[in-house]
Point group: C2
Chain length 356, copies 2
């Protein structure tokens, strides 16, 4: 088949280690399924600040734009935490989202059988939890005007939260489509009893809903959603919400699965373009020691195959291989009951590669 291009951003901390294993998996699927990829590395985040003086160098953007998909490890670390805004990894993250038009962040939160006990929730509450948070990623208070000014009560800071109808339509339509391929339930989360952007959001959802008569829709206020995720996680299928609420709720949802080290995410742009990355962070404390769990990044490749390339067979194979290796009792130290028997990052990658 046609050669596809993947931009590979290793990033900081454990990023390079987990990305190396994901690339190993990509190579195996090339052999097994006859795909052909070129992979081009690019600097981003802390390492780009160190080497290029900016978290998002122009050439990185070009590499990403010329690719069909982006694979990202993780960015950030204490080293850059006290930098000025322009020299912080997060600024690069917001920049790349905007520049690549990644308006939709998909965060599947699923339970891995072997990690059920890792959750702080009772197993009977978690049972059957399999949800997806669809978070709007290029609008809202993240990207609205921000400034300081002098006011009556001293210095004032202002953030502006803006949404227009097309931005809401785009993400909401996508969420309805995704729900249609899942359990056909959509929870739209807003704060319509307080915010004007939420009222626009809700109106738009209600206007679009009749186009998807087979999807069961509920509107949930964000504070209530934070509660219901704890009370009845398994009752949710797809949750769609704006940027800031999505940031908070997707992290809450990920944590309650107990599987945060294993969750993949996709940030989608127009068409099938997407950036794929593990939900976990750069874990600078364990970086470079071969301790990192590569599974979330490997599962991000599966997500990439499914959503960008339509390689469902290979995506299934990767997910099956991960399940097999876990079922056989193999663990990296983050998820091992007995740390002395834990596998290294590369050992885990090798086992999954072999299982494909």
């Amino acid at each position: 088949s046609e050669t596809k291009k993947i931009a590979v951003i290793s990033g900081d901390g454990i990023g390079p280690e987990v990305v190396a294993e994901a690339q190993k998996i990509i190579k195996v699927t090339e052999e097994v399924f006859g795909y052909s990829f070129t992979m081009e590395h690019a600097l981003f985040g802390g390492i780009a600040i160190d080497e290029k003086g900016t978290p998002l160098p122009e050439e990185t953007l070009q590499v990403c734009k010329s690719a069909d998909a982006v694979l990202l490890g993780a960015v950030g670390g204490p080293k850059w935490d006290n930098n000025s805004k322009e020299l912080r990894p997060e600024t690069g993250l917001l920049g790349i989202r905007k520049e690549l038009g990644l308006f939709s962040n998909l965060r599947p939160a699923v339970i891995f059988d072997c990690l059920k006990d890792a959750s702080t929730l009772k197993p009977e509450v978690l049972e059957g939890t399999d949800l997806m948070v669809v978070r709007e990623l290029t609008g809202g208070i993240y990207f609205g005007e921000k400034f300081r000014r002098e006011g009556a009560g001293g210095e004032e800071a202002v953030d502006t939260c803006v949404y227009n109808v097309s931005e809401v339509e785009r993400i909401v339509r996508q969420a309805f489509e995704i729900a249609g391929k899942r359990r056909k339930k959509l929870a739209s989360v807003d704060k319509a009893n307080v915010l004007e952007t939420s009222r626009l959001w809700r109106e738009t959802v209600n206007r679009i809903a009749p186009e998807y008569p087979d999807i069961e829709l509920e509107h949930v206020l964000v504070d209530n959603c934070a509660m219901q995720l704890l009370r009845r996680p398994s009752s949710f299928d797809v949750i769609v919400t704006e940027n800031m609420f999505g940031d908070i709720l997707s992290d809450e949802a990920a944590m309650l699965t107990g599987s945060i080290g294993m969750l993949a995410s996709a940030s989608m742009g127009e068409g099938s373009y997407g950036l794929y990355e593990p939900v976990h962070g750069s874990a600078p404390d364990i970086a470079g020691q071969g301790l990192a769990n590569p599974i979330a990044t490997i599962l991000s490749v599966a997500l990439m195959y499914r959503l960008t390339f339509g390689y469902a067979e290979a995506a299934d194979a990767i997910e099956r291989a991960v399940a097999e290796v876990l079922d056989a009792g193999h663990r990296t130290s983050d998820i091992a009951a007995d740390k002395s028997k834990a596998l290294s990052t590369t050992e885990m990658g090798d086992l999954i590669a072999k299982a494909i």
Copy 2:
């Protein structure tokens, strides 16, 4: 002692039932401790919309302003959910907060031994959880300018989030003071890696912190806080945050205790003025049936005694009486294992009154 005035707002749904029991408790403490209160009722919320055409009638505001404290049941219900903004109970809630200058919402989240199992969290994770969310209540995106406009992408909605230094100082100082009377730990929650208001917030916290050298301070990003509340709830003591984040996190914190039907809250203004209410809602589905649990409202009276009146002895007595009645196995139906043995609202109120 001097006669104090309490404005009593029964509100909607189960509000009148639970407030009646709280008043019963107030009267008992008058006898036992020699206090003297006048209580003046006022219409607010849905019932005020029905009877006065506005959720917050001017005379209600006057009754509240002339009182030393306000006791509130609960407001809202499906009946008013589709009203226009001006005719919705929530609008009254936002109005009363602003008009009475209630800038600080205190939400203790504690575990009741008898309800440990009601939480969806594992008991060993919950063990020792006793935290307080201090939420800024009259600023931020709740009260900033809101409007619609035409933009390039069609109709746009805008919400503005504003904080000035004095608003932040006021709430942060209060949080430090509260932490000083507790376990001396303060978590300040913001999104300083994205929001300008959060950067102002964090600068202000850091500027004030040296005045409280005995308080251990940590800065936590809001998304991370949503996770850490699940992972290590017992490690938090006081959490201070801005209005919108506080709305979400205080509900999450309340839910994880499993005791949401039992939690009290205080909204404080200047000096010792405060509005006290249960965390739970108006529960219209069970209203008027004597099924409501009055404990959260009764505990709100204890909070009022402690924070507004400095009646620590009576506050202790109320809390002790509640614990005693629960320890003896008495339950309303919401928390009863065997619903057939559940007490009515008034029976529970009577038992607690007798125990004081």
